[in-house]
Amino acid sequence: MRNRPTAERAAPRLGVVFSVVLHVGLAVALFVSFSKKIDLPLDNPPIVPVDLVTVSDQTNIAPMQKPVENTPPPTPQEAVPTPMPEPAPPKFELAPDVKPTPKPKPEKPKEAEKFDINDIQKLLAKKTPSKTASRNVQGVGAQTAMTADLASVLMSEIYRCWSPPTGTPHPERLIVKYEVFLNRDGTVAQPPQLAPDTAAAVVSDPYMAAAAGAARRAIYTCSPYKLPADRYAQWRNFIVNFDPRQLEQ
């Protein structure tokens, strides 16, 4: 009978010990962390990489990082880069049948260090096609081709030249609409014309006049536009809306 109270006293003590240990453990776990590199997701602005696409009716951009295709790997000779920038391992020096590729690409030293001719097929399997190696762009549209519509191409050209008005009160109202007329060589054929509603606002609002001036300068400074000549009928004149609402003021 005497033991019971002792055991009863011991049980709460154990509980307290466990509780303290757990709390200390929790506190330590909260303070200690293991660093881990987390790649923040990149914003994907709707900029079409025009250098890589052809102009079509609709924007249809395949994602840049494709899954590895099941095509048979090329022969080792075609893929071995020469010359190596650093002294290669002895095995590599012994490869007598190595032929230079038509356009040899200097490899990064890091890759050269890892290079092992015995494991070349594995290396090739890791490699993605060179045209998509350095970029990670999400697909747009059907994601089956590399085409952009004319509006996307023009947008990607004009935005670089547009220095929008900043620091103005109520910038959301400063939407400027111009009709642009181009020659076949992409130069501006005649002065761009303000849409009627913009023209009316420009007369009464000096901020709108300034916004219209900035838009007009953008149209001119981006000229000549690089557009497909065979589709001149579609881009000989177009409407462009300069909309500063999404810009950080």
Partner: protein
């Protein structure tokens, strides 16, 4: 049926006749904010004697526009064309080659009556058209002001806002060791030229311009006690404002110039008063036992923003000009004080004290949209350019190494030091000179 066909034909005709209809629509909702490249060759002069004025005016215009951060005046050494006659359209191709988007051509000529005539034109280089053309007559000694007026006109035509180059800054010029600091009232042009002292050897603080830029209200210790004093720039006379038993400070004019809002201290309690300069009658606006100070009128004169610690910490409040409807608008981190209502009315600038630092911030009059524009060790006391686009403030250098005047664009861009002769603090920006 015939009727239906005629309606169809009419609709088709309307569609065809619609002017300027293009099917392709391009939405540009991203931009690339850059200062405008502009070429400003020396102004043409018919005689060698006038040539110096032509060079000086162009130089001041280039400097003004560059300082705004919105323009990039191109180096005259890069010009491949010369302007010989401003009444002939320039060869735009030669200016496009050097990436100029704007071109300013001007000429100066001394008139038989001894006045200087200055003409200039602003050209759209890509649009190949004149955007602006103006002419001024002035005394030759006034050439600098004319240059600022040219800058203001160009700035306004390009940005849609009035310029601020033909303005003056009144400030406190500081000199002497820290324990025996001499603080004198001084004035200079907006670009730092023509500095001069207005008072001598006694302590002055918080100078403020009236709307005509002819009068300055400030706090002075000339009689031993701090008193709000008026200084007339034309006559050089100063007078004590009101006959109050205790100290008065932190004055600011109403937009029409008829009222001065200020703080009156009495028995350890500070409250906001308004004095009518025509009748010299004063009206008390706040009755709170806390410290209410730093009043500033809205541009329409209907409201006053001020700082108060009635809520436990220094925060910003707004009330009607008659003292009614007092309500707090700042709820951000830290303490907030020295509010100044923008001349444009869209923002209130203030000093923000948080994280052991003082910075300059702006918010909308309802307290929303707070943005920090500068964050030095001790940036305080903002003052607005008359166009509500740029702010100046005092930056105290850490370690007792003096104070400087700095300016920043309302977007937070273009933070730069303002040239002053020696240490300077407490700037107040004048309205455009009339």
């Amino acid at each position: 049926m015939r009727k239906f066909a005629s309606v169809l034909i009419a609709l088709a005709a309307m569609a065809l006749c619609q002017p300027g209809f293009a099917a392709l629509q391009v939405d540009v909702n991203q931009g690339n904010v850059q200062p405008l490249p502009i070429a400003i060759p020396d102004f043409v002069a018919p005689t060698a004697a006038d040539a110096a004025h032509g060079q000086d005016i162009a130089k001041v215009v280039r400097s003004d526009l560059e300082r705004s951060g919105l323009f990039k005046p191109l180096d005259p050494k890069s010009y491949i064309d010369q302007i010989a006659n401003i009444n002939v359209a320039p060869n735009f191709q030669n200016w496009r080659v050097i990436t100029a988007q704007g071109l300013v051509t001007g000429q100066v000529a001394m008139q038989p009556d001894g006045r200087l005539r200055v003409d200039f034109r602003l050209w759209d280089v890509y649009g190949e058209s004149q955007m602006l053309g103006l002419q001024y007559f002035t005394q030759p000694t006034n050439w600098r002001r004319i240059a600022h007026m040219v800058s203001d006109a160009i700035y306004q035509r390009i940005t849609g806002e009035k310029g601020y180059f033909d303005t003056r800054i009144v400030f406190i010029a500081e000199s002497g060791p820290p324990l025996k600091r001499v603080k004198r009232l001084a004035i200079m042009d907006e670009d730092g030229a023509n500095p001069s002292f207005l008072t001598n050897s006694y302590l002055v603080l918080t100078p403020r311009f009236n709307p005509t830029a002819q009068m300055i209200a400030y706090m002075s210790y000339i009689t031993g006690k701090p008193r709000v004093t008026l200084f007339d720039l034309e006559t050089g006379r100063s007078e004590k404002l009101g006959d109050f038993p205790n100290m008065t400070f932190s004055p600011r004019f109403s937009p029409d110039g008829n009222l001065v809002a200020m703080t009156l201290e009495s028995g350890g309690n500070s409250d906001v008063y308004v004095m009518d300069l025509r009748t010299r009658k004063s009206t008390r606006l706040t009755y709170d036992p806390a410290i209410d100070t730093a009043p500033s009128f809205s541009p329409d004169g209907k409201q006053i923003v001020f700082e108060s610690d009635r809520g436990g910490s220094q925060q910003i409040y707004v009330m009607n000009a008659d003292g009614s409807n007092q309500h707090r608008i700042s709820f951000g981190e830290g303490k907030n004080g020295t509010p100044v209502w923008s001349p444009r009315g869209d923002l209130i600038a203030f000093t923000k004290q948080a994280g052991g630092q003082f910075g300059i911030a702006v918010m909308h009059p309802d307290g929303s949209g707070e943005r920090i524009l500068s964050n030095g060790w001790e940036d305080e006391g903002p003052t607005w350019a008359p166009n509500g686009r740029v702010l100046m403030f005092t930056r105290t250098i850490r370690g007792g190494r003096g104070s400087q005047i700095w300016s920043v664009d309302v977007t937070g861009r273009n933070l730069r030091r303002v040239a002053t002769p020696g240490d300077a603090s407490d700037p107040a920006w004048s309205p455009l000179i009339q």
